[in-house]
Amino acid sequence: MSEDLIIPKIIINEINKKYSSSEAKKILKELNESYEKAKITPGEAIGVIAAQSLGEPGTQMTLNTKHFAGVAEMSVTQGLPRLIEIFDAKKEPSTPTMTIFLKEPYRDDEEAVKKIAAKILEIKFEDIMESITVNLLDFRIEAQISMESLENYALTLEDVEKTLKNIFSEEDVKVLKKGLVKITPKKEIEVIDLYKLKTKLKDIHIRGIKGITQVLPIKKTRGWIIQTAGTNLKKILLMEEVDPTKTISNNIFEVASVLGIEAARNAIIREIILTLKDQGLNVNLRHIMLIADTMTLEGMIRGVTRYGVSKKQESVLARASFEVPLKHLYNAATRKEKDELKGVIENIMINQTVPVGTGIVKLVVNEAENNKKTIKDKKKKGE
């Protein structure tokens, strides 16, 4: 009997374990029947349904109202703008964030979490300096380090001096006791280059992980997590305190480059679900999965735009009907492109049956057979 079952083996085994054999048989039969009933019909235009399922709630989303629920959560783009951002496959989200989960011993220790957070936070020279000037008289750059912020970040002047000396190998770096930094070029350079040096100094990375501009430890039911503004998945995942199985970034391209395309697919699904849930909208997972699958079909992330998914359509007419039709026509002419008319929109254009739903089956009158029958009937009548 179990050979006739089309439901997955795991479920069959589970039910067989849980119930007595007669009961299990009954349940399995019922289950099998309802699965058979629930199966999708071949030819269903599931793409359009998925697109509509995500497009229709778009009209109900808010555009720029931020919610005030969290006392001090990181503000993240949400609603329709975020959804558009995901489908556009923007290289960098407008508010990149990471949610960092920590490993067992660390996640319940508030002090440790705060320490980790401080360690992650990127500190640039800019953040610890009070003022910066270009001293044209002595032809050098002078910057005043704020001792207060140094203390805040638990840094010492020596640390700063070390990193500065490392980077400015071609210049003479002096750090005075009161926090005055003097950088004098050893070679003769132009004034413009001196100003360039100034911007370079401001941008010097002192500590932390590049890209993480803010950190926020939050207490959740299962211990502390760290939310960040700015992402750097690659480096964060390498930290030993971090739980790499849970930690996520909302930058889909980053996920793709660090963890691969399947992870990116999951990231797209996750981000869409999060944005929809936040707006109180209910969309079945299947639709979201299908969209994520089309976006990652080619092994890289393609946006739902004329440069992404729509560019890859085989049919000239389908591409032309979407955006910038003429470009596609001229290109098609020089490339001798052939439209096989396999898609929906092409067939709509030329008034032919679309190859979805009832359009994939054909009903033909078997005239030969029909004629035989009528002849037979006539013969019968004649007899």
């Binding site: 999708i40 269903e44 229709e56 778009g58 109202t65 001090a72 803010q214």
Partner: protein, 857 residues
């Protein structure tokens, strides 16, 4: 009529058009810019030449002999006196000129290099497809461009400068289209592929036009104004310019005019031909109509939303459609639509005459077009269409025989597609059964307003009548309302009870609701088809009178084998045992549109037909019970007791004080900023938090303390409104937001002149203390209006944005479908998912994608 599809377009190929082809296509050589002679008859060899088709009724096409509408038109041809560049291929021409040798015409890369590229190209097109191949070719062209010496004939290359829009200079000397054409002719076929042109698509020199195809007259019909004056199409105007310049150039060439004049005319010809193709090139001033309006030439006809592609090809105008205002009708079936009789007499269905229905159809013909139900046309076996009039009626009746088609009026039981824009869903177009009704509006059941998102404040809807049996049966089965009750978006019924229907059922099924026999029978008979014997035993008998509970009445509508258990909106258990509502109150979560779990259970268990009947019954039960019982709302419903008013006032004051405390802290620099926020932002967050908490608490207080009254019943049953709406009316409107923050803009350092500068307090920044009923004061009212305007803007910006998003989504996914093996593939057969949704389960056929919940038992 035989409408079997006999021929089908298999594929469409795009190529360059050769001069030979143009010559062959052209049925007439256009030589004169004149259009008509004195008798306003088209001139031979003019742009309206009768050989290119006809637009005037009464004339015949001189090429094919057919009349207007029968003749699709034929191309003409203009022989250009001097060749002219096709402006849209200018980039290709530029590539050809710069990356081929000026002497031998070969590409400026050695054969060895080419062989390498050849292999690479083959690999790319095998692995990634043709689109990537062409992207790679761009790189080859770039390489070839910078070569200074031809590797084939060692000729030194001169630098060619391209001046937009269409001039080429080779180190000072101008290359005329003749020169360019000569060079392009020299490029061997084998090199073309590396230059971005498929050699099978055509020759590069065809990009320089020597012949210009003239679109048929039917593509540019002239309009006769009321005054009798003819107004020509933009294209005709443009073509006239071309012919005129061309003729002048000819004459000057023949007369041996000086080079300057010839060159000027040549450039003019180039300009006209360019603007004939597109009138939207940056470097060229657009050609204008006499009135100053830019002409709409070929490209503008194709482009954009109003262009050929999106307006005429991807969407088409249809016949047998209707549109009018909609109005509600609770007694019409869920899958019916009421159609005005006047419309039914214009909308027809072509019924083929057979020996079995000839008698029936003759009645329609007899009635003619003016009497309902009649028929408007008859189509004979030969396909001739005959209008039925009083004069022709007799003849038609006599000759009517099997094989004829009668276009009869719409009758009850026909099928129609009903639609309301914006069509965001597949449920925006559903199949309804036709019901002919008096008056002039479409009538629809209230339960289907939800999928259409319709109301009756003047909404109009469209109706389409399928014109053959195949289409009609698809409408009846696939598009039928009752087969689309479950939305594929999340698997719950989108068609369900709404508003008063929910309230009615809620009040009816509450505990301790007893109905007398008369009441019970009245109620049940209002549903129609009720059998008095199905009334169960009365629950209570008092003073010799029989009483039934509301739950009992509701249970009559349930099938006897239904067992169901769930939780309703107010977290009560709802238990149905053997078709008997044993426990719990029915509310929006059980039967409401977009939520109703009971309806979903019903649907999977008993199917669409029974579900729609059940829904119809409960919706009528709901409103009829309300009508019987009486239900109205008063302003006093939201009155609060003195005590409560005081309490709320206190809570508000408390919140205000808290806010001021925080502000004081901020002003004295005693506040700590949240990580990643400035002090000011922190303050805003804190104040917002305090005020919102206060409002939520107040809304809870209001909800808890109001005694049961109609307004509360509506909120509680989920029919309309919520606890928050009540709080807005009764207690306080709360913080008004502008762009997601408190209102901080307006005057210098204050939002309104009524407040002091730098006042950060709640009142000064848009907090509305009063409720709607109590009335807002002037500043509050203004803040409220500001927030209202802001939300209007939000809606205004959102609609086009989400519309565009949906268009993109649909375009990207419209070819995806489930194949017979359960996999999802796109138009080219590429697999997107091996099993749809990983389990092949259809959302509409299951409980939100889950198939079985037997484990609970």
């Amino acid at each position: 009529m035989n409408d079997l599809v006999k021929e089908k377009i298999g594929s469409i190929e795009f190529r360059l058009m050769s001069p030979k082809m143009i010559q062959k296509m052209g049925v007439v050589k256009i030589t004169t810019p004149e259009l008509y002679d004195i008798d306003s008859y088209p001139v031979d060899g003019g742009l309206m030449d009768l050989r290119m088709g006809v637009v005037d009724p009464g004339l015949r096409c001189r090429t094919c002999g057919s009349k207007v509408k029968e003749c699709l038109g034929h191309f003409g041809v203009i022989e250009l006196a001097r060749p002219v560049i096709h402006i849209k291929y200018i980039n290709w021409i530029n590539n050809f000129l710069t990356s081929t040798c000026r002497k031998c015409g070969r590409i400026l890369l050695s054969d060895e290099v080419l062989r390498k590229y050849d292999e690479k190209l083959k690999n790319i097109s095998l692995q990634k497809g043709d689109i990537d191949k062409w992207a790679f070719i761009k790189e080859i062209i770039k390489k070839a461009k910078n070569v200074k010496k031809c590797p084939h004939c060692e000729e030194e290359q001169l630098k060619i400068k391209f001046d937009k829009p269409s001039f080429f200079n080779e180190e000072g000397t101008r290359l005329t289209p003749i020169d360019i054409r000569e060079r392009l002719e020299r490029i061997p076929d084998n090199d073309l592929e590396y230059l971005g042109l498929n050699p099978e698509a055509g020759r590069p020199e065809w990009m320089i036009l020597t012949l210009l195809p003239v679109p048929p007259v039917t593509a540019r019909p002239s309009i006769t104004l009321e005054t009798g004056a003819k107004s020509e199409d933009d294209l005709t105007h443009k073509l006239g310019d071309i012919v005129r310049t061309n003729q002048r150039l000819y004459e000057n060439l023949n007369a041996g005019a000086p080079e300057i004049i010839i060159e000027d005319l040549w450039d003019l010809l180039q300009y006209h031909v360019t603007t004939f193709f597109t009138n939207n090139i940056n470097q060229i001033p657009p050609a204008r109509h006499r009135s100053g309006r830019p002409l709409k030439t070929l490209e503008e006809r194709i482009k954009s939303k109003e262009g050929r592609f999106r307006k005429n090809l991807a969407g088409k105008r249809v016949d047998f459609s209707a549109r009018t205002v909609i109005s509600p009708d609770p007694r019409i079936k869920i899958n019916e639509v009421g159609i005005p009789i006047l419309m039914a007499m214009d909308l027809t269905f072509p019924e083929t005459v057979t020996e079995w229905n000839i008698k029936w159809l003759k009645k329609f013909v007899e009635n003619g077009p003016k009497k309902y139900p009649g028929a408007n046309y008859v189509i004979t076996k030969e396909g001739k269409r005959k209008k039925i009039t009083d004069e022709t009626k007799e003849v038609v009746l006599k000759e009517l025989a099997p094989g004829y088609i009668v276009e009869r009026h719409l009758i009850n039981g026909d099928w129609a597609i009903f639609n309301r824009q914006p069509s965001l869903h597949k449920m925006s177009m559903m199949g309804h059964k036709v019901k002919i009704l008096p008056y002039k509006t479409f009538r629809l059941n209230l339960c289907v307003t939800r999928p259409y998102n319709a109301d009756f404040d003047g909404d109009e809807m469209n109706l389409h009548i399928p014109q053959n049996d195949e289409a009609r049966s698809e409408v009846e089965v696939l598009m039928n309302v009752i087969n689309n009750m479950i939305t594929p978006r999340y698997g719950l019924p989108i068609i369900g009870a709404i508003q008063d229907q929910i309230t009615g059922n809620y009040l009816l099924t509450k505990n301790e609701v007893y109905l007398e026999k008369k009441e019970a029978i009245n109620l049940l008979s209002s549903l129609g088809g009720f059998n008095i014997e199905s009334l169960p035993k009365p629950k209570k008998i008092r003073d010799g009178k029989e009483f039934w509970t509301g739950k009992q009445i509701f249970s009559i509508l349930l099938p006897k084998d239904l067992n169901f258990e769930t939780i309703n909106k107010s977290d009560e258990k709802v238990v149905i045992k053997k078709g008997e509502l044993v426990e719990g109150t029915i509310d929006a979560k059980i039967i409401g549109a977009g939520k109703g779990i009971l309806l979903q259970e019903f649907y999977t268990k008993y199917g669409p037909e029974k579900t729609s009947q059940f829904l119809q019954a409960i919706s009528l039960l709901g409103i009829n019970y309300l009508a019987q019982r009486g239900f109205s709302v008063y302003i006093s419903d939201t009155d609060l007791s003195q005590e409560l008013v005081k309490k709320i006032k206190q809570r508000l004051e408390e919140a205000e004080n808290q806010a001021y405390e925080v502000i004081a802290k901020y002003k004295s620099n005693n506040m700590e900023a949240y990580p990643g926020r400035t002090l000011r932002e922190t303050l805003e967050v804190k104040i917002m938090d305090i005020l919102n908490r206060a409002r939520n608490e107040i809304s809870n207080i209001v909800e808890k303390n109001l005694k049961e009254n109609p307004t509360i019943v509506m909120a509680e049953s989920g029919a309309r409104g919520s606890a928050l709406n009540l709080a807005l009316i009764a207690a306080t409107v709360g913080q008004q937001a502008l762009r997601g923050t408190r209102i901080n803009k307006g005057y210098k350092k204050r939002a309104l002149p009524h407040f002091e500068k730098e006042d950060l307090g709640p009142m000064a920044r848009g907090f509305v203390k009063h409720g709607y009923k109590g009335g807002l004061n002037a500043t509050e009212f203004f803040f409220h209006a500001m927030a209202g305007r802001d939300s209007m803007m939000d809606t205004g910006m959102r609609t086009p944005k989400s519309g565009y998003l949906q268009r993109r989504l649909v375009n990207a996914m419209l070819d995806l479908k489930v194949w017979k093996d359960g996999s999802v593939r796109n138009a080219s057969g590429q697999i997107v998912q091996f099993e749809y949704g990983d389990d092949k389960v259809d959302v509409t056929k299951s409980k939100g994608g889950k198939i079985y919940e037997g484990d609970k038992k």
